[in-house]
C-alpha cells in the first residue's frame, strides 16, 4: 500500500511536527496535524460547548440528576421546543427555554464555523468552495430550525434536541403536511441524496481503479490529464456514452449535493405556508396512483 502513496515533501513546520501514525499510511498520505484555533475557532467551539452543556443539563434535570437513568434514557431524552401556546415568545427554562438557548448558541457556533472554514481557505490561498457549499447545508438547518418555525409562528414546529426526538420530528412532520413522499421538493431532494451516493460510489470506484497510474492526484490531473484519467474517462464513455473530466466530475459532485440540500430546505419552507397538505397537492396534480372512480377522472383515494 505504502508504495503507491506519494508524500508531499515540504519544509513547512506542520509537515515535520505533525503527529505521525504508521498504521494510517494505508488510509491516508497525510496525517494528524495541529488544529488551527484562531478567534473564529474559539467562538465556534465555545458556543458549541455551551449548546452541549445546556442540552445535557436539560437531560439531567429530566432524570433527576440520576447518572444511571441518564445513560439508560439517553436515546429517548430530549430538550423539546416550547409548546405551541408560546408561539415565538421566550419560554420558561423547563418548558422550552433550554431549547431556545441551545438552538441560539448552536446557530451562532455554526455561523462561526462557516467563517472559520472561509478564512482558513483564504489563508491557505485556495478558493472558499468548501465554505460556499457548507452554506447550502446551513440553509437546510435554518429552514428546519428557524425559517419554518418563524413562518408558522411557533418554535414548536422545530425538532427537539435528542436522538429519538429528531426521528419523531421527521416522522410527524411528514404526516402533518400530508405525507412528504408526495412533496415534489422532497422528491428532488431525495433524488439528489440518492444521486450523491451513486456519484460518490462511481467517482470513488473509478479513481481507485486507476490508482496505479496516479489518477488520484486530482489537482495535477485537473491541470493536465494523464494516462490514468484518460483510462477512467474512456471507461465511462464506452459504458454510457458520456464522460466527465478530472475537473468537471467535481462540479457535478457539488451540484448534486447542493441540489439535495436546497430542494430539501425549500420543501420544508413551503410546507404549511404554500401547501398545507402535499397529498392534496398530488391529487390536484393528478399523480396519485390508484383506481379511477367511474364517471370522474380523479382517483378513489383523492375523493373527499
Amino acid at each position: 500500500m505504502a508504495s503507491e502513496i506519494t508524500r508531499v515533501e515540504s519544509a513547512d513546520w506542520r509537515t515535520t511536527r505533525r503527529f505521525y501514525l504508521k498504521f494510517l499510511e494505508g488510509l491516508a498520505d497525510t496525517q494528524i496535524g495541529p488544529l488551527y484555533i484562531g478567534v473564529w475557532g474559539i467562538l465556534a467551539l465555545v458556543f458549541f460547548a455551551v449548546t452541549v452543556f445546556v442540552i445535557l443539563f436539560g437531560y439531567l434535570e429530566q432524570v433527576g440528576f440520576n447518572p444511571i437513568l441518564f445513560v439508560r434514557e439517553f436515546p429517548v431524552l430530549s430538550v423539546e421546543p416550547p409548546p405551541p401556546s408560546y408561539g415565538l415568545k421566550l419560554a420558561p427554562l423547563a418548558e422550552g427555554g433550554y431549547w431556545q438557548i441551545a438552538t441560539f448558541f448552536l446557530t451562532l457556533s455554526i455561523v462561526f464555523w462557516l467563517i472559520r472554514i472561509w478564512s482558513r481557505a483564504i489563508a491557505n490561498r485556495i478558493r472558499p468552495n468548501v465554505a460556499i457549499v457548507f452554506t447550502s447545508a446551513i440553509f437546510l438547518y435554518a429552514a428546519i430550525y428557524i425559517i419554518h418555525p418563524i413562518s408558522m409562528g411557533a418554535w414548536n414546529e422545530a425538532p427537539g434536541h435528542g436522538l429519538r426526538a429528531q426521528l419523531v420530528w421527521a416522522n410527524a412532520f411528514s404526516i402533518k403536511y400530508g405525507n412528504f413522499y408526495y412533496n415534489p421538493f422532497h422528491m428532488v431532494s431525495i433524488f439528489g441524496l440518492l444521486g450523491s451516493c451513486l456519484l460518490l460510489a462511481m467517482h470513488g470506484a473509478t479513481i481507485l481503479a486507476v490508482v496505479r497510474l496516479n489518477a488520484h492526484r486530482e489537482i495535477d490531473e485537473a491541470e493536465s490529464s494523464t494516462e490514468g484519467t484518460h483510462r477512467a474517462q474512456l471507461l465511462w464513455r464506452w459504458v454510457m456514452g458520456f464522460n466527465a473530466t478530472a475537473t468537471s466530475i467535481h462540479t457535478w459532485a457539488i451540484a448534486i449535493a447542493v441540489v439535495s440540500m436546497v430542494a430539501g430546505a425549500l420543501g420544508v419552507i413551503f410546507s404549511g405556508t404554500l401547501e398545507p397538505d402535499w397529498f392534496q397537492w398530488a391529487c390536484r396534480a393528478g399523480i396519485v396512483p390508484g383506481v379511477i372512480q367511474p364517471g370522474t377522472t380523479s382517483v378513489a383515494a383523492c375523493l373527499r
Binding site: 491516508a28 497525510t30 496535524g33 468548501v130 450523491s196 460510489a201 462511481m202 470513488g204 481507485l208 456514452g241
Partner: protein, 284 residues
C-alpha cells in the same frame, strides 16, 4: 472520439477474450458506445423490459387519463397477488407482467455489470466500478427476489411505477411498526447523508485548488487547510477509499434493514425492548 482514444481502442483489441464469461466477445463500438456480448444482452433485455413497461403503463392507458405524461408518473405494473405465492404465473391479471419486467430488469442490470467488467479489463483498470455497481444491483435483488422468496410471496416486491413505489415505501415504513426505529435503517440513512457530506466536501476541495498551479497552489495547500480545519487530512487516495466504502456500506446496510423486516423482526419498536431489561440498570 476523444483525442487520445484511438490508442486505447487499439490496445483493447489486443486483450484476449474469455468466451466462457462472454468477455471480449463481439468487440466493436457504435459511436461512443462499446457494444460487446454483454452490451447486446443488456440492450435486448432492456428494450423488452422497458418496452413492456411503457406499453402497459404509458400507452395502454389502463386508468383512462388520456395523458401519457400523467400515466408515466402515476401508472404502475402491480405486483403479483399474494395467492400466487412464488409460482411463475402466466395470468396477466395476477402479475405476469411484473414477473416478466422484473426478470428483464435483473438480467439487464447483471449484463450491465458484466459490461463494466469487460471494459475495465480492456482498459487494464481495477474492478472497483463493476463491484460498486454490483452492490447497487444487490439492493434490487434483495428487495425484489431474495426477500420475496424468504417470505414466500412475490407480492412482497415493490410495484414498478414512479409514484407507486413511493407509496410502497411509505407503507413499508409503517408495516413493521416504524422504520425510524430500525437501527440498520438509521445507519443506512446516516451513511446516505454521509455520502452527501463526503461528496460535497471532496468536490468543493478539488475545485477550490484546481487550476491554481501558476500561483504555486498544490495539494499541500489542501493538506494544510484540512489540518487547520479538522486537525486531519485524509489525503488523495484516502478520500476515494472513504467515498467508495461510505457509498457501498450505505447500500449494504439498507439491504440488511430490508431483509430483516418481516423475516426475523416484525416490530422495530419492540426490537428495542431488550434495552430496559439490561442487567446494569435492573432495579432503577
Amino acid at each position: 472520439m476523444l483525442s487520445f482514444e484511438a490508442k486505447y481502442r487499439r490496445e483493447a483489441m489486443e486483450v484476449p477474450s474469455v468466451p466462457l464469461l462472454g468477455l471480449g466477445l463481439l468487440k466493436f463500438w457504435v459511436g461512443r458506445f462499446y457494444v460487446g456480448f454483454w452490451g447486446l444482452v443488456a440492450l435486448l433485455f432492456g428494450l423488452i423490459g422497458a418496452g413492456i413497461w411503457f406499453w402497459r403503463v404509458v400507452l395502454l392507458d389502463a386508468t383512462r387519463t388520456g395523458n401519457p405524461l400523467i400515466n408515466f408518473v402515476r401508472g404502475q405494473i402491480e405486483v403479483p397477488s399474494p395467492d400466487v405465492g412464488l409460482s411463475l404465473t402466466t395470468d396477466p391479471s395476477k402479475g405476469l407482467w411484473w414477473l416478466v419486467v422484473m426478470f428483464c430488469a435483473t438480467v439487464t442490470f447483471i449484463a450491465w455489470m458484466m459490461r463494466q467488467v469487460d471494459i475495465s479489463r480492456m482498459l487494464k483498470m481495477g474492478y472497483q466500478v463493476p463491484i460498486a455497481f454490483g452492490v447497487a444491483v444487490s439492493a434490487w435483488v434483495t428487495i425484489q427476489i431474495v426477500r420475496p422468496i424468504l417470505l414466500g410471496h412475490w407480492s412482497e416486491g415493490f410495484p414498478l411505477g414512479v409514484m407507486a413505489h413511493l407509496d410502497w415505501l411509505s407503507v413499508f415504513g409503517y408495516r413493521f411498526f416504524n422504520f425510524y426505529y430500525n437501527p440498520f435503517h438509521a445507519l443506512g440513512i446516516a451513511l446516505l447523508f454521509g455520502s452527501g457530506l463526503v461528496l460535497s466536501l471532496h468536490g468543493a476541495t478539488i475545485l477550490s485548488a484546481a487550476g491554481k498551479k501558476k500561483e504555486g497552489v498544490t495539494e499541500h495547500n489542501i493538506n494544510v487547510f484540512y489540518w487547520d480545519f479538522l486537525g486531519y487530512s485524509i489525503g488523495e487516495i484516502g478520500i476515494h477509499r472513504l467515498a467508495f466504502w461510505t457509498a457501498l456500506m450505505c447500500v449494504l446496510l439498507s439491504n440488511l434493514c430490508l431483509v430483516l423486516s418481516g423475516t426475523l423482526v416484525q416490530d422495530w419498536s419492540a426490537f428495542w425492548n431488550f434495552w430496559n431489561k439490561l442487567p446494569f440498570w435492573s432495579g432503577f
